[in-house]
């Protein structure tokens, strides 16, 4: 009688490691047809809705005049570009003469006054300031400037007094350094000096003309040897932002600033020997017409009146945000997948097999989270990397100027969007583990992510304060990672989620979502260990 050898599996015995767990979860994911299809649907929705938005966002301008009632439609013009590649507004009144080589200019300012329009327009071409209200805007500016030329967007450095931000030195649109505080008046005048030495321009200020303080040093790369230098004045438009319901609504109109100068003195070579006045502006700038601007000279005493602003442009459409509108559709799809990745196990009773095979329950959830995050991140990366250039191309074809966001920002937005999708899916997994009910879990996550965003960006639902709070503390803060426009403290405008500005920095916003996800995961692990499956 022969003895039968006991059965021995031919499978090699392998360690019960985390790798095996990952492999098991990956097998589960890729063999459920619905989830793979769902992921493809998410990618297609992101790309498709981005393309839809691009095609249907025509931007066109047409100048209707009595002579030409049906003008041809033209694409919207781009604002001028500054030395750093950013969009800028560069309109002001410039009293200038060429400065050859090194030199300096010193002035004393004794007053800064202004006029502003509250109703959006201005009087008439003959009398443009009719009906305007006296008052100086917080960032109205008058002072001295050295600029590469008269082209809008060319490099410059300037010392100025402002309406309510004291003396500032600003250069190349984005740089701003504070000098003496307080308002300028005949009793408390401000002395300003700009000195050029090669490419370096240094700004000084003084309250008495004898004791000088260095405010800042600007290096203007490639400044031509003969630059334009002189006096300038500009005032950004007046705007009254409604703090009530109505979100980002604002009313206002263009404004003027007038600076009064005396003791104008110059050092160096100034070949022209006389001053030329010129309004630097383009037709669509938010500024009064050139006829309202100008200067007067009596000896070394000047008044200069100008309108417009020398600053980064913030009234731009965030074209990247428009291209990525489909992120929300993709988000809903990946959250559904994330929730089902765990609730399907409960529904089918599979969870008992899973936990029997791997009794350390925390590691099961960790493996699921890793597999889900990696898969969704890869899909999101593909979707965002395709959508942004495609959307940009279609938006350009529809006549939209494209916001110059830069390669680093674009990379951050692509990677950030993929991370946003991946972390949201993991949040779905965690909430699904806690609730064990698909419908409830999907609703909690999507209502937590999308509803605050929707309430914050739709004008007329919530007051501005509540909007800001919503996109600061709820998971919706993570959409900050898709912001391509930049907020500048030296420009007053409506910085609200509805116009593309989030209160948190991009990665800080994503960190808020990570914190919520970590919290949900911790609770999920705790409950998974405590409860019977």
């Amino acid at each position: 009688m022969s003895v039968m050898a006991p059965y021995q599996s031919e499978q090699r015995v392998r360690r019960d490691g985390f790798g095996q767990l990952l492999w098991a979860e990956w097998t589960k994911f890729r063999t459920v047809r619905g989830w793979v299809i769902g992921l493809l649907v998410a990618v297609l929705l992101i790309v498709g809705l981005g393309a839809f938005t691009g095609v249907n966002s025509q931007c066109s301008v047409a100048d209707v005049t009595p002579q030409n009632p049906n003008p041809p439609i033209q694409a919207c013009p781009s604002p001028p570009t500054g030395p750093g590649g950013e969009w800028v507004s560069d309109s002001f009144y410039f009293v200038r003469q060429p400065l050859a080589g090194d030199g300096s200019i010193t002035v004393r300012l004794t007053s800064l006054t202004g006029l502003y329009s509250t109703h959006g327009g201005f009087g008439s071409p003959q009398n443009p300031t009719a009906g305007m209200t006296p008052g100086v805007q917080p960032w109205a500016k008058a002072g001295i400037i050295i600029k590469a030329g008269t082209r809008q967007g060319s490099a410059y450095a300037a010392m100025m007094v402002t309406g309510s931000h004291g003396v500032r030195m600003q250069w190349n649109f984005t740089h701003d350094v504070a000098g003496l505080a307080g308002k300028v008046s005949a009793d408390s005048p401000r002395w300003l000096r700009l000195a050029r030495s090669g490419d370096v321009i240094t700004g000084y200020d003084s309250a008495d003309g004898t004791h000088w303080t260095k405010v800042g040093t600007a290096t203007l790369a490639g400044l031509p040897s003969t630059a334009q230098a002189g006096l300038f004045a500009a005032s950004p438009g007046y705007s009254a932002n409604s703090t009530s319901l109505g979100g980002a609504s604002s009313t206002g109109g263009p404004a003027l600033a007038t600076g009064t100068y005396d003791r104008v003195s110059r050092l160096g070579t100034w070949p022209a020997g006389r001053w030329t006045g010129q309004a630097i502006q383009a037709t669509r700038d938010n500024a009064l017409p050139a006829s309202a601007q100008g200067f007067t000279q009596a000896g070394d005493r000047f008044t200069v009146t100008g309108s417009g602003d020398i600053a980064p442009s913030t009234d731009s459409i965030d074209s990247v945000k428009h291209s990525l509108a489909g992120t929300f559709a993709g988000l809903i799809a990946v959250v559904v997948i994330g929730v089902m990745f765990i609730t399907a196990e409960y529904r089918r009773g599979m969870i008992r097999t899973t936990l029997a095979a791997s009794p350390r329950r925390g590691r099961v959830l960790a493996a699921k989270a890793v597999v889900l995050a990696v898969v969704v991140f890869a899909a999101g990366l593909v979707a965002a990397a395709v959508t942004i250039p495609l959307g940009e191309h279609l938006l350009r074809d529809s006549g939209n100027p494209i916001y110059p966001a830069g390669v680093l920002t674009m990379t951050r937005i692509v990677v950030g969007t993929a991370a946003l999708l991946a972390i949201s899916a993991v949040l779905g997994l965690a909430v699904g583990t806690v609730l064990r009910r698909s419908a409830g879990a999907v609703t909690v996550v999507i209502a937590g992510l999308v509803l605050p965003y929707l309430l914050a960006v739709t004008p007329g639902i919530l007051p501005v304060g509540a909007e800001q709070w919503l996109v600061r503390v709820t998971p919706a803060a993570a959409f900050a990672v898709q912001q391509s426009v930049v907020q500048y403290h030296q420009v007053d405008t409506v910085y609200a989620a509805g116009t593309g500005y989030f209160p948190l920095a991009p990665w800080a916003g994503l960190a808020v979502l990570c914190a919520w996800t970590a919290l949900a995961l911790a609770l999920a692990v705790f409950l998974l260990r405590r409860r019977d499956a």
Binding site: T53, G246, A329, I332, V335, V336, A439, P463
Partner: protein
Amino acid sequence: MTDVVHAEWTKLRTLPGTGWLLLAAAALTAAVGAIAANAVTCPAGGCQLDPAKVSLTGIELGQVVVAIVAVTVVSGEYSTGMIRLTLAATPRRWRVLTAKAAVAGTVTLAAGAVAVLASVLAGSLLLARHGISPAHGYEALSLGDGPVLRAAAGSVLYLVLIALLSLGVAAVVRDSAVAIGVVLALLYLFPIISGAVTSPAWHRHLDQLSPMTAGLYIQATTNLRSLPLTPWQGLGVLAAWAAGAMLAGALLLRFRDA
């Protein structure tokens, strides 16, 4: 038919979650409405403000809870296999769906009425405290006022239609997670895409097609001319979506194996 409705009512009533969810729907609606009304700050010159709409802001959150209840009425049966028993007991399948719609619609109507009454009450008290009162030229928020009554009753109907839409979608896709995902996508994506599209014509089309945006026009009591549809037409858009979803659900239930 009465028996079928009674059976559905028993199923819904005896689920432990139903009562809590409906209570949550009413409480969340009233709470968000109260927060929105309390957050109103209006400069002395006055602002463009629709008191009824502000008080009923909570419907935007309350509707998702109603959607959960309605989706679960159908998909819950599929996840447990109960649907086979239900259809064996009532082979005329459209009757099952009709009974489910009647039951889900009725409980939503009840919860919605409570939610809306509480919201309007809270809104009238809080808005008056923030200077939105007849003394400052605003209409008092009262259900005796025709447009306010339309907004209040319409909001209850809105919730009922959301329940029917969710029920229809759940009958089409049968899985709770996917069904609720589709419903939330239908509600939220239209306004987001409409906000991203800059072409005014498409902006208008998308708002007119959107079940949520158009449906909530019923809450407007001021500045009606600026809306692309009248309030009742707007609610009609949502009704069309709900009818379409229910029809698709009924047909698929009829011709598909459970």
